[in-house]
């Protein structure tokens, strides 16, 4: 090899000598250094052999060739005359072979390329497994990283579709990863497989370089402790985590907070500055602290705290210092009592003894001490351990007392409970002294500790009295609190006050008598007892106060009184009432009543009770609704004292009224009342009464007129009938006089047949009624039979038109039979056949329709009903004497005239008829029948009793 180089040199020198310096020598690559991890190639070369006359500097071109096909992947013309060059490959150098070659250049002359120097890749070896490069790489978040996968020989790569893969050599594939996000602590795994069963992979991590900042160091004169902030986590863990060194010493006790770190090293007095280095695989950062550590002293905690002397209001504490240097330093200490109270600072050189004053008697304390340097104070040191102690008991503070005059002879003295800060020990009780101003009488009272008021009998109310109250504990009694008994107020004038934000803002005119200020007391207006009175004392010169109380409730009326405070008894200045917050009334108005008065309506109600008003009632709303609950109108009554309201000229109809009281907060619940205004019914009653009265008067006058004109009417309507003059032959019984016979009681037999129901008179086995002149027999129908002679009368048949067989069968069977009386038929008799019309003829068939209404279609208008004929049959005897001519003579002719008979009956026998009706039920029945001729009439009770179905 060496001989080959020598040959080349000899040849070059020979050529150079022969041709002159019109060509450039080929540079010689002297050295190639490969940094695999950094993917960097460093090349060093030398000039070729030059003529001594050639003094100018050469420039060089350099090329990087890749893979087995020697693709040029980088070409660079160097502009300096350096003989070294570095290049960082975008892909790991293991992925494929890289070659480097150089040529020289001067003006227009360019040398040949040097012989390439090759760095073989791993794709030319033949491992059994897949290789993936780079291995264990740490990259920045968001960077682009190129990996390569070298498959086994004879196979091709297969992998996920999400990978951007490019083939870079026969067996090597390039995989590019973009926008990498922080990796988990175990890193990302990139796996690669090929068509064989082999697989391989690599692990890489993605994170940030350190960006620590704000280094601050302090000392306790033993060690140095530095703090710095770490705005961003590097997201790298384990061996890739950031390593810190402070002044070249590895940080001990490294404490990683979320964004704050600290590290401590022993103090080296020779070190002026502190230098922190933070380094991880992605980079490093250096921080410097140049502050003088004597100005950064943070003291250790005091040790061995002791409480040497304890009194009611002061205590002495002592401690020691561990660091000797502290004993000569000017120190500044502070004391923390019960977590919140800080006392101090107390300054002294080497401070280790302290007297704490202004403590509260009978109180438990928790104490801690910390100190700092008094000169160049930097920061308070660490707190000492906790110590507990309790101060001794002392006399209570003076009580805050107030008085309420409850009556002429009684007054209530009240005081506020002493707080723990004021009682200075457990209260054992209270002393109350009542003394008259003249000093004539003095009374003492002991009050138990659980009382906060005492009711006093004043005795002589004309005297002025003074009350003194003291509180007692184990250390003694409190200073006395004295107050004069006020006089009973004579003026109950009260003004209104509005609250806001849960309080009352009061102001009052200044008073010359208020030598010691003013007292404002308050209590609920509608109910108060001892515990509900509260008060506040306002210093002299101040004439306004905001009254705040935890007991204030919205919707409750409070009475507030302002008194002047003087040497004597307090005097009432003003009295006010108000709400801290008004609410809508909690109740509706009481006892809402409604009184109609013609077209007007008067509403009346009672006021809402005071405790339910929840605000000053400003008025009332009256809502008027109609029957369909449609709001007609709203009336606003602005008088808060109103309890009545009149609604005028209401149209007829039904109304509903709702009355609601309202306060400044709005309207409350409503009381409801309803009324119906119905003048039509009233008028109808009046009209009816008037009509009845008019009719009564009319009948009365007609009756009088008829009575007065009765002779005239008789003559006109019922003239005297001259007695017939009987001839001699009249003794012969040619004509049989009409005689009243009584119709036998006929029994109606209803025979159900296809033709309907048939009612028959008498019959075999049936009851036969013999003519009975006794008209008092019940339920007898008697009729006049002009043809009847002796016992030749045949039974007559009444044919009742019953409902259809279907209907009748149904009605007969199970319910009261309803029978329609359709007519009376008389069977043919010899008399009838002789042509003499009989009363039955008059009654018969077409004419007699008593069940039918008065508007019989088959009956002439002038024809009366047949029932009056029956009455005639019963009672008109004189007609029986009427002479009848054989030619015309037919009783049916006269009796058949219904008009005649009706008029007769009505006009002459009215009273008699009524009388007889009273005596004769049958006639009475007929009369009723007559009166009810338009209604179905079933006057004969035997009808039902003889019904076949009834047996």
């Amino acid at each position: 090899m060496t001989s080959w180089h020598l040959c080349v040199v000899v040849v070059v020198l020979t050529v150079q000598e022969n041709r002159g310096q019109n060509w450039l020598p080929v540079p010689q690559v002297v050295n190639v250094v490969t940094e695999w991890k950094e993917q960097r190639i460093s090349v060093t070369w030398a000039d070729g052999l030059l003529s001594p006359n050639f003094t100018e500097k050469l420039l060089f071109d350099i090329e990087i060739l890749q893979d087995e096909w020697n693709h040029v992947v980088h070409h660079e013309k160097l502009k300096s005359g350096d003989h070294s060059w570095s290049w960082t490959s975008p892909i790991p150098l293991e992925c494929t072979s890289h070659s480097v070659r150089v040529r020289s250049r001067h003006q227009q002359l360019i040398s040949q390329w040097s012989i390439p120097h090759t760095i073989p890749g791993n794709d030319i070896s033949s491992p059994k497994t897949i290789q993936v490069y780079p291995k264990d790489r740490v990259v920045h978040v968001g960077s682009i990283t190129v990996f390569c996968c070298i498959v086994t020989e004879g196979h091709e790569r297969i992998g996920g579709a999400d990978m951007n893969v490019t083939r870079i050599s026969n067996r090597s594939y390039e995989i590019v990863k973009h926008n990498l996000t922080p990796s988990p602590s175990a890193g990302y795994n990139l796996k690669c497989t090929d068509t064989s069963t082999a697989s391989g992979g690599t692990t890489f991590w993605v994170g940030y370089s350190p960006n620590d900042q704000e280094l601050v160091c302090e000392t306790d004169l033993v060690s140095v402790e530095c703090h710095w902030s770490r705005p961003r986590n590097t997201e790298l863990f384990g061996r890739r985590e950031t390593q810190y060194t402070l002044n070249g010493r590895k940080c001990k006790d490294l404490n990683h907070g979320k964004q704050l770190c600290k590290c401590s090293i022993s103090l080296d007095q020779g070190e002026k500055y502190r230098n922190l280095t933070a380094r991880n695989p992605l980079g490093s950062v250096e921080l410097m602290d140049r502050e003088d550590l004597n100005r950064r002293i943070r003291m250790q905690a005091p040790l061995n705290m002791t409480i040497s002397e304890v009194h009611a209001r002061n205590v002495t504490i002592q401690w020691n210092w561990k660091v000797e240097a502290y004993k000569t330093l000017p120190l500044m200490c502070r004391v923390q009592l019960n977590h919140s109270d800080h006392k101090g600072p107390y300054n002294n050189t080497g401070l280790s003894l302290l007297l704490l004053t202004d403590l509260q008697p009978d109180r438990s304390y928790r104490l801690q001490v910390c100190c700092g340097t008094d000169q160049h104070f930097w920061e308070w040191g660490s707190w000492s351990s906790v110590k507990f102690f309790q101060t001794k008991v002392d006399r209570p503070d003076a009580l805050d007392i107030w008085i309420q005059r409850t009556s002429v002879h009684k007054t209530l003295i009240m005081w506020k409970c002493l707080s723990a800060n004021d009682s200075h020990g457990q209260i054992r009780g209270y002393n109350v002294t009542l003394e008259s101003s003249m000093g004539s009488k003095k009374q003492w009272f002991n009050v138990s500790r659980d009382k906060l008021s005492f009711l006093l009998e004043l005795g002589d109310s004309s005297e002025d009295h003074v009350i003194t109250v003291t509180a007692l504990n184990s250390a003694g009694s409190s200073p006395p609190s004295t107050i004069g008994v006020p006089r009973l107020p004579t003026d109950n004038a009260c003004s209104e006050v509005s609250g806001s934000n849960g309080s009352f803002d009061l102001s009052w005119p200044a008073s010359a008598n208020a030598s010691c200020g003013y007292i404002v007391d308050w209590r609920p207006t509608h109910s108060w007892h001892n515990g509900t009175v509260e008060w506040v004392k306002v210093p002299a010169g101040i004439t306004r106060s905001r009254i705040v109380s935890g007991n204030f409730k919205a919707g409750v009326r409070y009475s507030l009184s302002i008194y002047t405070c003087s040497q004597g008894a307090p005097e009432l200045m003003e009295k006010k009432e108000g709400y801290v917050k008004e609410m809508v009334p909690a109740q509706s108005v009481q006892k809402l009543q409604i009184n109609p008065s013609g077209p007007d309506v008067l509403l009346h109600w009672d006021r809402i009770p005071l405790e339910s008003q929840q605000g000053f009632v400003r008025g009332y709303f009256v809502y008027k609704y109609d029957t369909s609950s449609r709001l007609i109108s709203i009336e606003n009554i602005t008088d808060p004292d109103a309890t009545t309201h009149t609604l005028r000229n209401l149209p007829h109809g039904s109304y509903k009224f709702i009355v609601k009281a309202y306060t400044s907060a709005g309207e409350g619940l409503g009381a409801t009342a309803s009324i119906k205004l119905d003048p039509e019914s009233y008028g109808l009653i009046v009209v009816t009464l008037i009509a009845l009265g008019s009719m009564a008067c009319l009948f009365f006058f007609i009756t009088i007129i008829c009575y007065q004109k009765r002779k005239w009417m008789k003559e006109k309507i019922y003239p005297e009938i001259p007695k017939p003059k009987l001839p001699e032959w009249s003794a012969l019984p040619v004509w049989q006089t009409l005689d009243l016979i009584q119709c036998p009681y006929d029994r109606i037999i209803i025979v159900e047949s296809e033709e309907g129901l048939l009612e028959q008179w008498g019959g075999e086995g049936e009851r036969h009624y013999t003519p009975d002149t006794d008209s008092s027999g019940p339920h007898e129908l008697r009729c006049y039979d002009p043809v009847m002679s002796g016992g030749s009368q045949r039974p007559r048949t009444l044919v009742w038109s019953a409902p259809s067989s279907q209907d009748s069968s149904g009605s007969l069977g199970s319910r009261p039979t309803e029978v329609t009386y359709t007519g009376v038929q008389t069977p043919p008799t010899p008399a009838v056949s002789s042509g003499l019309p009989s009363p039955q003829d008059a009654l018969s068939s077409e004419d007699y329709r008593p069940q039918i209404s008065a508007t019989f279609p088959m009956q002439p208008q002038s024809a009366p009903s047949n029932l009056p004929l029956l009455q005639v049959c019963l009672e008109y005897q004189p007609h029986s004497q009427h002479s009848l001519s054989p030619e015309t003579g037919s009783l049916g002719g006269s009796l058949g005239n219904p008009t005649y008979v009706n008029s007769f009956t009505f006009l002459l026998n009215n009273t008699a008829s009524e009388k007889s009706q009273e005596e004769d039920p049958s006639s009475s029945s007929l009369a009723r029948f007559n009166n009810r001729h338009q209604q179905p009439f079933y006057c004969n009770p035997t009808y039902h009793s003889t019904h076949p179905t009834d047996g």
Partner: protein, 202 residues
Amino acid sequence: MAGEQQSSRPGSGRSRTGKAVSLARLLHRDCTRLLELYKEKESLPSEHSLEMDRIVSLCVSSPNLSTDERVWLLHSALRQCLGLLEYVIGREEELEGEGEGEYESVRNSVRDRLGHLLHTTRVLLKNEEETNVPAPDPDCNKVKEVEVDEGDGTFGVKLWIYRVLQELIHWTHSASETLHTLHSEREREQEVGDSESEGAEI
């Protein structure tokens, strides 16, 4: 299992073998879960193919071993497993720091229970003085030095950890079966002994 424990007097050999069987089964379940968590953590495919060579291998000269001899060999294998697991824990803490996830919790639990199982099997073997312990092959059955192919980087270490976890599953399963066989044999022996002593009394 409950029946087995009820039939065994506390502190007796049968009771100890029963507890060892229970512990081995529990450990097997833990190891299976540990491998699942590891695959999940490292995003490895569920059926990741690996070399089939055992990391923990035992050389046995005789093909027909008694149960006690198999327990002895099992104890040796479990001891190797524990060593591998402790190495794994150290490497993982070095790589990733001390994690506090479920994987780390199960992993530490497996380590502790594996230690308990080793202790239990050792106690079982000590009680059987007559156990014919196979002659140790100095080249084979000694605890090998842990050898990890670092050439493949962290990914290679992860694959090796994967194999270690598979070894744990294999050997804990083997332990549960072998110990169960031992437990059954000792129960039968105890029953035979009890019946013979009863016959002698009669």
